[in-house]
Amino acid sequence: MEPVNPKDRLIRRVAAALRGHKGPVPAAPPASLPVPAGGANRVARFQELFEAQGGDFLSASALEPLLLALGEALRLSGVATLLFPNDDPAARQVAEALVPFGPFTLASPSELRQPSGRPVAGIQSAEYAVAETGSLVQTSRGGKTLLPGLLADVHVALLSPAAFVDRMDECLAALSDDPPRNISFITGPSRTADIEQTLTIGAHGPRKVIAVVFP
């Protein structure tokens, strides 16, 4: 009997097609994939690849010099407003500590939906940093917002040393049981080379991405 549902019909059609021809004999899976693991060099490897894609990287052994450097970087990019998610205490703490360096005003991420014309920095804790690719991982797990890394002109991602993993596999494994609605790997600022193959920063997303590793 012909199933009426187009989805079932597709599955039937595919199954029938597969019976028509045996595909090539699959090779055995390789024992392991030689992916350069960071190990002790995790953070250094992350920095190298993140910077190669145009990202900025800041780390220091004490909080004070780190805030100074970050405040300076934001001021130089013309940032006037700092945004942080309400449910992100680390981001709030950093944003509040940064105010005197600007001076900056503080706001909540939902204001990004009304573009104001003045450069805005979105500050948010990132969940993972992947050494293999130099990527930040930001997700919607637990209802987290994605707007700071999406609509802000400058994206500041806060990383704890525990956020670093060697390979993409590790963070996907941690998320795959019940994947959040959005898992984003972010590696440097938005870019395009669509006009004359000339690399240009800031096509749609942030023009600057700063990864900050806190001691």
Binding site: H21, L147, L150, D169, S184, G188, D194, I195, Q197, H204
Partner: protein, 473 residues
């Protein structure tokens, strides 16, 4: 998209006569190739990843019924609505229906080759939807009213001056020859659209069966905008995009950006699973996934199954001497280069696409670079065989090939012909070059000289230079 592959020869003549296009193509392909080579030199695991990627795709295709069923069930469990289109007309009808039911006036679209295949924009515009292409290259060619010419860099054929004049004319922007300024204009224009669009449309680089996730890989971030901000997200993807598990994704992320642009990873990779959850701050309330067959089950059935492993990286385009010479438009349909030369005849029919399968020297470069090890040259050869079997070859070509085979089987005749050609060339072509050939053969001499036949037959030269006699080894 209406295929025009039958006129490949005429299309390529036009492309070869366009010097601006020629330099744009060689700049792009050269750059991609160089960056790809560097990225692979720095990644010792590339070969192992190719084997693994090819194996996983093979396994996914050999059990596609199971994986598709799983993908559909998992995606729907998480709130997605999955639709299935057998062909392009059905896909257009379904998409227009979705837009109408959701009450969409404005949609932002990021690149989807499957949407291009079924001509989605026409259908949506017919349903009263304004569709804005949000990938910068696609945005440019949409303004120009042209189809893409490269699957990774759709506007490779446009110079900054042409882009600026286009922005001036269509958007009323002031003229500038600064690329960053052009990008800023597009960013500003498109940001307004992202914030007001009711629907985001995307393709999918991968669909994960075990979680029902849709994976998007982009550099600009347009795919991210269009799948987070609008209320509705429509995914248009071929059924072959399914991979068994989310945990299979890393190997493809190691292959795709390196092969496409030489990046270790593209700037943005989004793994999208289901609709906005009650606790989520943003995300689409509605997720429609439109799975397109459009000839794929037919391909699955036969000896060309492996072409469905293709992850659309574009490496085979960049390395192909034919693509390097004629660019993407000449191929006349959605997919150019070696992968297009296999897919076009299979999806649009051999009588339409056969000229593409013949436009190759079978040099093998595409198979060498393909990250999922598709035997592209074998398939091109196989397609020529099919063309012969279906009686689609021109009688003159068959006669020519038969004559060629007859000569090549008889060493004596070959040598006699070589001697005659040698004498004639001594008489007529003193420079050792043939600058002009008559009629159909003129293609060989229009843009370059053909080397004149040697005065001595091949076997004599061989004997002299190598000191061996192949016939009594």
């Amino acid at each position: 998209m209406e295929p025009r592959s039958r006129s490949f020869h005429r299309n390529s003549e036009k492309a070869l006569a366009n010097p601006a296009l020629q330099s744009a193509i060689s700049r792009t392909t050269g750059k991609f190739l160089g960056q790809r080579a560097d990225a692979i030199a720095e990644f010792p695991g590339f070969e192992a990843a190719r084997d693994e990627g090819s194996r996983i795709k093979g396994e996914a295709l050999d059990h596609l019924d199971r994986h598709l069923a799983r993908f559909i069930a998992e995606a729907e469990k998480r709130g997605a609505v999955v639709h299935v289109a057998r062909d392009d007309a059905e896909a257009r009808e379904i998409a227009a229906g979705i837009a109408t039911r959701e009450g969409i006036a404005l949609a932002v679209k990021s690149k989807s080759m499957a949407a291009e295949e079924v001509d989605l924009n026409t259908a949506l515009e017919g349903a009263g939807v304004e569709v804005v292409e949000s990938d910068l290259g696609e945005f440019i060619i949409q303004l120009a009213g042209e189809p893409p010419s490269h699957i990774i860099a759709p506007a490779v054929h446009k110079t900054r001056e042409e882009v600026s004049r286009l922005f001036q004319e269509k958007l009323g922007e002031p003229y500038t020859d600064q690329i960053p300024e052009l990008v800023r204009i597009a960013r500003r224009r498109l940001r307004e659209k992202f914030l007001s669009a009711g629907m985001g449309i995307s393709g999918a680089n991968f669909l994960c069966a075990d979680t029902g996730s849709v994976v998007l890989v982009t550099n600009e971030g347009n795919g991210r905008m269009g799948t987070i901000l609008p209320r509705v997200h429509l995914v248009v993807a071929g059924i072959e995009k399914v991979i068994p598990a989310l945990s299979d994704l890393p190997v493809f992320l190691r292959l795709l950006p390196r092969s496409a642009t030489g990046q270790v990873i593209s700037t943005y990779v989004s793994v999208l699973t289901g609709v906005k959850r009650p606790e989520d701050a943003e995300g689409p309330e509605k997720l429609h996934i439109l799975l397109v067959d459009n000839g794929r089950t037919g391909i699955l059935q036969g000896k060309y199954r492996e072409i469905l492993k293709c992850i659309r990286c574009g490496a085979c385009l960049n390395i192909c001497p034919v693509y390097q010479s004629v660019g993407g438009h000449a191929y006349g349909w959605v997919y150019p280069g070696p992968m297009g030369s296999v897919l076009t005849p299979l999806q649009t029919g051999l009588s339409q696409g056969a000229p593409l399968a013949n436009a190759s020297t079978l040099c093998g470069a595409c198979a060498d670079v393909c990250p999922v090890k598709i035997p592209l040259p074998d398939m091109l050869l196989e397609l020529r065989g099919d063309e012969r079997e279906q009686g689609l070859k021109a009688p003159a070509e068959l006669l020519g090939v038969k004559a060629y085979a007859a000569v090549m089987r008889r060493a004596g005749i070959l040598e006699a012909l070589e001697r005659i050609a040698g004498v004639l060339s001594q008489l007529f072509f003193k420079e050792g070059k043939v600058p002009w050939l008559p009629f159909k053969l003129s293609g060989w001499t229009d843009r370059r000289d053909f080397p004149a036949p040697s005065p001595q037959p091949f076997r004599k030269l061989w004997k002299k230079q190598r000191g061996i006699r192949p016939w009594n080894r």
